[in-house]
Amino acid sequence: MGDRRTTGEKIFAVFNTIFLVILAVVFILPVWHVAMSSISDPDVLQANSQLALKPLGEATLGGFKFVLDNPNILRAYGNTVIYVAGATLFAMAITILAAYGLSRKDLFFRKPLLFLLTFTMIFSGGLIPTYMIVRNLNLIDTMWALIIPGTVSVYNIIVMRTSFAAIPDALTEAAKIDGAGHLRILFQIVLPVSKAVLAVIVLFYAIKNWNAWFNASIYLQRRRDLFPLQLTLREIILQTSNNSIVSENSDPTAIDRFRPLVKYCTIMISIIPMLVIYPFVQKYFVSGVMIGSIKG
């Protein structure tokens, strides 16, 4: 094939390859910088804020030890795991129920119900009224505030509905004749044949909740012990506050010395799960995007 190309095309191919390699470096570089900084010598790091292509000074895992010994960061990590599990479970339950109901073609009120959901995609009460509802429901300063409000996505419901609607009627009709109710049809027929879309939507929800910080910042006001990792990270990164890394057994001089290192190490422990899973799950993401692009 290659010999049939014109000189111009060959030159283009070379430049294209070079450009894409540079682009790949640009995608990785920021994460690489954080990774290398996280194993740098704390004293060198403090005096230096340049790009870290390799560990600055002697490589050390001291920062990670400091972070993993820190009860505040560990607790935030645990909270995040609870929020991700809880919010994903809750959102999946609502999403599956909605998708199943709205995929029934014989449902008389299907259209108005679908409108009830999709209208919320184009108009909302806004930040303050939503906050007021959450407050009136007494969810402020509880873990539920990060599990229930704002976790269900209409987009995901539509993606799943499209996928459910594509299941051949013959499958569900046969079950109906055998006397199966809707709940049984859902659990024994629809869900088992929809594993791919379920995996995709679980991923969408889990990643969204792992990375979320804003709702926590407005709904958790007096309960620092309920902070998710992202909110603790925000304090460490952006507000340069010591609140998150101080604990009763820590020594203040060590904190000042370790602060820049703690930032990088905390970022690393927050993104390592993502870095580990993403090469394996990215193909599901691709299929999720594709299902979403087919209009049901």
Binding site: F12, L20, R104, R234
Partner: protein, 332 residues
């Protein structure tokens, strides 16, 4: 036929027609009622399953819409939703007359427009470039790497951005080459939009290109063969086969993007901005956050938020009208 019916005596015909219409309507109503009854009998289990869904959306989406009433009140917690005094359009007028109104509107619109102009075409270009790569392993590797930033949280992205914009940071050093003074870039109002949109592109380009890449792989290979036989080189093929093949996807995604042009990622703005960059960085939604949740001026903030929601709604409505005309597809 129409002339024949017109020749008949008019009054009798209309009376008859009205009777028929009435009868049919009654029948339809009966049919409808029967249909609904049958539906409820047959599908009550489905409706029961939908009940939590409906409850969720009413509580967390429609009740807040009702809460918009606060925008027309002087809301206070002491008096509550029902007891707070009604003040009409006071808060809206105050916002329109405020010194911040034009700055907020301008910042919101500019950030949206620049975002659309830059973030929209970039994934298409990436997909086209990847499409030209012949080595499939290299292509797959670059693609996989390009998704990486999508998995990183916005808090971390802004944290890294902060590093890169310090006076010794990489981006600051690059800006010096372009004539910058080498100061902290994140604190400069003139750099805000570029940093915001640039980091958005970095984070979303790979993910957004997925849909174009698969549209490209769906183009009929025979078209390329035919073009080759006609003597078209790679560039001509791109122009006459690839781009036309990609066009329907581009049009649909553009219209969808138009629909969310006003929904800026204000959470990211909140992480990035500061008093020194309010001049270009403060947008309507961050203003709502500050005056509402930080200053506790709930009613005024709700009014400002409603203004933003309404503009957004109008833009989506127009985008949908355009899409019905152009793409024969509708957003809803």
């Amino acid at each position: 036929m129409p002339t024949a019916t017109a020749a008949k005596p008019k009054t009798i015909q209309t009376a008859k027609a009205a009777d028929e219409l009435k009868a049919r309507k009654e029948l339809e109503k009966k049919d409808r009622n029967r249909l609904i009854r049958r539906d409820l009998k047959q599908n009550y289990a489905v409706y029961l399953m939908l009940l939590p869904v409906i409850a969720y959306f009413i509580i967390f989406h429609y009740l807040p819409m009702g809460g918009i009433a606060m925008a027309f009140q002087d809301f206070s917690f002491r008096l509550g939703f029902l007891g707070s005094p009604f003040v009409g359009f006071k808060h809206f007028l105050a916002f329109f007359n405020s010194i911040y109104f034009f700055r907020l509107l301008k910042n919101t619109l500019l950030l949206s427009m620049y975002g659309l102009l830059i973030s929209f075409p970039v994934p298409i270009i990436l997909a086209l470039l990847l499409n030209e790569v012949r080595n499939q392993r290299f292509k797959k590797t670059v693609q996989t790497i390009s998704y990486l930033p999508y998995f990183i949280s916005v808090v971390v992205v802004v944290g890294i951005l902060q590093d890169f914009t310090k006076s010794q940071g990489l981006l600051t050093q690059l800006s010096v080459l372009l004539g910058g003074d080498g100061g902290n870039l994140l604190g400069k109002p003139e750099a805000f939009r570029a940093l915001f949109i640039g980091s958005n592109v970095w984070q979303h380009i790979g993910y957004s290109s997925i849909i174009y890449i698969s549209a490209l792989s769906g183009i009929d290979q025979e078209l390329y063969e035919a073009a080759k036989i006609d003597g078209a080189g790679r560039w001509k093929q791109t122009l006459h086969v690839t781009l036309p093949g990609l066009m329907p996807t581009i049009v649909i995604l553009f219209i969808m993007r138009l629909g969310e042009v006003m929904t800026l990622d204000y959470e990211k703005v909140l992480l990035m901005y500061g008093p020194s960059t309010y001049q270009t960085a403060d947008i309507i939604q961050t203003y709502v956050y500050r005056i509402g949740l930080q200053n506790g001026d709930y009613s005024y903030a709700t009014a400002v938020g409603l203004f933003n929601s309404l503009i957004n709604f109008i833009v989506i409505f127009i985008a949908n009208k355009i899409s019905q005309k152009v793409g024969e597809t509708s957003l809803w």
